[in-house]
């Protein structure tokens, strides 16, 4: 399944594959001339590795959302890396190839499905690039339009002033002041007019077209609901009388009566008395 990954110079290729195809001199794999590529990197081993990697990644194209946990995904990534490593360094080539074929058979559906999809990170990148592009385009248009509008508005305004100075009977100072006002109004108008160039390939929800949206339901958070329980305080002392009983039992006779000013704020002498009794009764019994 692999094209031979031996290297030779351009003229040799020309010579060896005059007919367009033939066997590799080093490893005897049948080859086509059109399959030869220009070496991109200084280290030929890297070219070879990248070549292999691209092929492997075509098969092993699972995405992060195909796994339930991050750890599994990372293990998978490592496995892919192992395969690439083995193939480039000629370790266990046969076995690895078998493994790959096995995998390919097993996961046909997923591979097919994922072929068209980009990884999430790549999508992000694409989005950023697009945005950059749009932004710069928009800026360019804006500045251009703005300049034009500006020039035009100025010209019209100037002409109007001249006309008025010619015709109108108002004093020149007033006219000039009016002119100034108008000029500033124009400025603000121009500011407002700046329109947005709407990007075309975004759904109304703001999601990019063609982006994968995770349809998995949001995981439910299991929580125990809060149940109200009556507050119960142990004071380690005799029970304290209720607030409304204090007056009846004559406790309030010994307390300073509240002045009208105090009562305006909602204070009654019972409150203070009640608090004092609470204070006095708590902590009397040994716990």
């Amino acid at each position: 399944m692999f094209v031979c990954v031996c290297f030779r110079c351009e003229s040799c290729v020309e010579m060896l594959f005059v007919r367009g195809s033939g066997n590799c001199v080093q490893c005897n794999t049948p080859l086509r001339k059109s399959n030869f590529r220009v070496q991109l990197f200084e280290d030929p081993a890297i070219d070879k590795e990248v070549e292999i990697r691209k092929k492997v990644l075509k098969i092993y194209n699972k995405r992060e959302f195909d796994f339930s946990t991050l750890k599994e995904y990372n293990d998978y990534l490592e496995q892919v890396e192992d395969i690439v490593f083995n193939l480039t360094n000629n370790i266990d080539v046969e076995r690895t190839k078998q493994m790959m074929e096995q995998y390919q058979r097993d996961n046909k559906d997923i591979i097919q499905r994922n072929k068209a999809k980009l990884t999430r990170e790549q999508e992000e990148l694409e989005e950023l690039l697009l945005q950059d592009h749009q932004d710069s385009e928009q800026r360019r248009l804006e500045t251009l339009q703005e300049e034009q509008r500006h020039l035009q508005a100025k010209r019209i305004n100037k002409q109007a002033l001249l006309d008025e100075l010619e015709i109108s009977k108002l004093p020149a100072a007033v006219l000039l002041a009016q002119h100034k006002d108008r000029a500033s109004q124009l400025e603000t108008q121009i500011e407002k007019q700046k329109q947005n160039v709407k990007p075309a390939n975004i759904f109304s929800t703001g999601i990019m077209m063609g982006q994968t949206v995770s349809l998995a339901s949001v995981s439910r958070v299991e929580e125990v609901l809060y149940v109200y329980q009556l507050l119960c305080i142990d004071t380690y002392g005799p029970p304290v009388l209720e607030l409304d009983q204090l007056g009846r039992l004559g406790y309030l006779n010994h307390v300073r009566t509240a002045s009208p000013q105090d009562q305006a704020g909602g204070y009654t002498s019972g409150l203070a008395c009640h608090r004092a009794i609470q204070d006095a009764f708590s902590g009397l019994f040994p716990s």
């Binding site: 991109l40 990197f41 200084e42 280290d43 890297i46 590795e49 990248v50 990697r53 691209k54 990644l57 991050l70 750890k71 995904y73 990372n74 293990d75 998978y76 990534l77 490592e78 496995q79 892919v80 890396e81 192992d82 490593f85 990884t119 990170e121 790549q122 990148l125 694409e126 950023l128 690039l129 950059d132 932004d135 800026r139």
Partner: protein
């Protein structure tokens, strides 16, 4: 004297105080109270440093729980030492006044090169060598080997420090670099590691910007600094450039070649270790499966300053499976390296964004974004596991890994520019990949985010509002202070025309114009006749200076000038320049007087002070714009326009004016000093340029000194110099620009002081 600053008792170690210092401290106090950030501009020579120190120390003493630490960042080693000496003065005053034992610990921190006391290591010349050698003596596995094999050399100072030094806290006091070395020698401890360990509980730390802004260093040194620290950036007018430099990466062909050797070494080491000690690799592997949880926990519990090279997402995830094992990772790096090499083999300039780069890299060598993002962290782990002794050798691959992480993490704020040759030598192929940061806020964001107050201060920060915009933060106080003067000791003049009425300008179109060059020459000639002692002249660039000086020589102007004064020239070579400087000062001492021709943005313009007779006049020939044709600058300007709505012209003018102000400010280093400031370009007279000068210069620019001819300049200059040369005593200043405590407390003085600070 003891001052009452807004209810805070401040000990000030001098008997007199400038009104603007008082005002400065008031603003500073407000910033600290609000626990916010501040931008403060105060002219050089008015005692910024001591005001800062005395107020913050007083604040620390009064509210030890609110502000636990002061981190003072300066630019150069001499400046750091100056700060510590001021601090020592302050502390001596404290002990004298309160008679209590001082429990303050303050120290300076610098690189190993400045602190090492190991006899062999400290003899090395370059910082990198010292670092590498030190690492090879102190790395943990080297020391472990030393246990089993005592012939393995280790650093006895570090050993001693590690054995004893960590338990015994360094006694309170003020430690300058030399003090640290002395202390280290006496105890036999390594001063560098001692200082690095001690900054964690020191009250005041003085060090260089890079320890906080460069993510690679900050991660090592500053990440555990307490949240409740006050951070001060002094001389911060160039802070945006420092931030940008710390996040940018330049990759040349040589880097890649060195990287190649690194990768090979890695591969060999891995295969060797695999045979001898496979368990180690397995252990690393299982740790990576678990992910970088440790670092994540530490960051969540808010212990560390976050590192922009180590983005948050990484910490929450495990290392991707494709680079988990060592071999795979090396293969990955190889592919990345080859890809970069292929990219550098181009014949035209390419500029692209990070997403474009990532897309291309996926198509060419199948590298995903995610493993790239983990690259720096993964490499670090590998180097640790392999126990590689000389980290300095691996700087190339570390650089590449940083690049990988940055490019995959930030889709905005960076640009990639690949140039096949330098602009100056378009025939020689020298491909460079610039990965340049355009957004200074990325590097400084963690600092603003973490520390409760960050103060940015300098003599030239005008216009003040641009710094918060480009650094992307919200200051609570933004103020500019003027210099109160008993006599107008600075005289800014804008010379726009020669005596022949030809406009003087360094504009590109008229650069080669003979008339302009001649007029510039005449200006210098006339000034050399009337100004006593030293004159410093600044040009916009080295090339421009060379051209002008050459044609001055041809026209015989140079000869005429040399009749009046000696001429010295700054060159790109540091040793030559310092030689020229030394001779220049000698000539000034002699009374013969001299002229120093130097370049804005050069070494002289940034760090050298020309006090008193060393600089009686500064002439700024032309407006020091940056080289606008560079692609990096263009990209940055575009970014500023799109992201921060700062127009290109505004930024360029701002940048040029801050450098011009920096240059002319070299001459005035105090209130008794005086000097002419001559701006020789008619463009300075325009409102947009003039308005961007610091307020303390603008104040003295009257309408009458805007568009002068050389004759008029000479007249004004003569008059000014004669006036200034009269004896000037301290009593003349008292009550006006120098206050005693009683004068300070008077009602109308306080009112006057309130006007000094101008809120922007």
């Amino acid at each position: 004297m003891k001052l009452n600053i807004d209810g805070l008792l401040v000990y000030f170690p001098y008997d007199y105080i400038y009104p603007e210092q008082y005002s400065y401290m008031l603003e500073l106090k407000r910033t600290l109270d609000a626990k916010g950030h501040g931008v403060l501009e105060m002219p050089s020579g008015t005692g910024k440093t001591i005001s800062l120190l005395s107020l913050i120390v007083a604040y620390q003493k009064a509210y030890p729980l609110e502000v636990t630490k002061l981190v003072y960042c300066s630019r150069t080693v001499p400046e750091i030492e100056k700060v510590v000496e001021e601090l020592r003065k302050l502390m001596d005053y404290y002990t004298k006044q309160t008679e209590a034992k001082n429990d303050f610990l303050a120290l300076a921190l610098s690189s190993r090169k400045n602190l090492c006391i190991h006899p062999e290591v400290s003899a090395l010349r370059f910082g990198k060598e010292v670092d590498g050698k030190c690492h090879s003596l102190t790395a943990s596995y080297i020391r472990a080997q030393h246990h089993s094999n005592p012939s393995q050399p280790v650093c006895q100072f570090y050993e001693e420090f590690d054995a004893v030094g960590r338990q015994v806290p360094i006694p309170p006091g003020i430690y300058n670099l030399d003090d640290l070395k002395d202390f280290g020698r006496r105890k036999g401890w390594c001063p560098y590691f001692l200082a690095r360990y001690a900054i964690l509980h020191a009250n005041i730390v003085v060090y260089s910007y890079h320890y906080l802004l460069d993510p690679k260093i900050a991660d090592l040194v500053s990440k555990e600094l307490a949240k409740k620290s006050v951070v001060v950036f002094d001389e911060a007018h160039n802070i945006d450039n420092v931030c940008i430099d710390s996040m940018s990466v330049n990759i040349t062909r040589r880097t890649l070649d060195r990287c190649q050797t690194n990768v090979e070494t890695l591969q060999n080491t891995i295969s060797r270790i695999k045979e001898t000690d496979a368990a180690k690799l397995r252990e690393e592997y299982s740790r990576l499966v678990e992910g970088l949880k440790e670092a994540n926990v530490a960051r969540e519990t808010d212990m560390y300053l976050s590192n922009p090279v180590l983005p948050d997402e990484i910490l929450q995830e495990a290392v991707p499976g494709s680079i988990r094992t060592a071999e795979h990772f090396v293969g990955f790096m190889k592919r990345f390296l080859e890809y970069l090499k292929a990219r550098l083999r181009i014949h035209h300039v390419v500029q692209e964004s990070a997403p474009q780069f990532l897309k291309d890299i996926y198509e060419k060598v199948c590298i995903d974004r995610k493993p790239l993002r983990f690259c720096a962290e993964r490499l670090r782990s590998l180097l640790r596991t392999l126990e590689i002794a000389d980290i300095a050798d691996f700087s190339a691959i570390t650089l590449i890994s940083h690049f990988a992480t940055l490019v995959s993490t930030y889709s905005k704020g960076f640009t990639i520019i690949i140039e096949p040759f330098e602009d100056r030598t378009p025939t020689i192929a020298n491909p460079v990949l610039h990965f340049s940061c355009m957004d200074p806020s990325i590097a400084i964001k963690p600092v603003f985010g973490r520390f409760q107050s960050v103060i940015i201060t300098s003599g030239t920060l005008s216009p003040l509002d641009i710094y918060p915009r480009i650094l992307d933060f919200r200051p609570v106080t933004v103020a500019s202070f003027t210099m109160t003067l008993a006599r107008t000791c600075l005289c800014p003049l804008i010379v726009g025309r020669g005596n022949d009425q030809v406009a003087m300008t360094s504009k590109f179109e008229t650069r080669e114009d003979f008339a302009v060059i001649r007029n510039y020459g005449n200006l210098l000639l006339e000034m050399s006749a009337i100004v006593p002692d030293g004159i410093v002249a600044f040009f916009t660039s080295y090339i421009y200076m060379e051209n002008i000086v050459a044609s001055w020589y041809e026209q015989g102007i140079l000869e005429n000038i040399q009749r009046n004064k000696l001429i010295f020239i700054e060159t790109q070579d540091a040793a030559e320049t310092s030689m020229a400087l030394e001779k220049y000062q000698e000539a000034c001492e002699n009374g013969r007087g001299a002229i120093l021709l130097s370049v804005a943005r050069g070494k002289v313009s940034e760090g050298i002070d020309f006090v008193h007779h060393y600089g009686r006049a500064v002439i700024m020939f032309g407006v020091p714009y940056v080289y606008t044709q560079s692609r990096i600058l263009k990209a940055r300007l575009e970014y500023l326009r799109d992201q921060f709505q700062i127009r290109e012209n505004d930024f360029l003018t701002f940048d040029a004016m801050r450098h011009a102000a920096q240059c002319v400010g070299r001459a005035i280093r105090g209130k008794t000093d005086y000097g002419l400031m001559i701006f020789a370009d008619k463009r300075y007279a325009r409102a947009d340029k003039r308005g961007k000068l610091p307020r303390w210069i603008q104040e003295h620019l009257t309408d009458g000194s805007l568009n002068l001819t050389i004759d008029e300049t000479v007249q004004l200059g003569k008059h000014f110099l004669r006036q200034m040369a009269q004896p000037f005593r301290q009593e003349d200043q008292l009550g006006l620009s120098l206050l005693t405590l009683e004068q300070l407390q008077s009602e109308d003085m306080l009112q006057k002081i309130a006007q000094i600070a101008q809120q922007a």
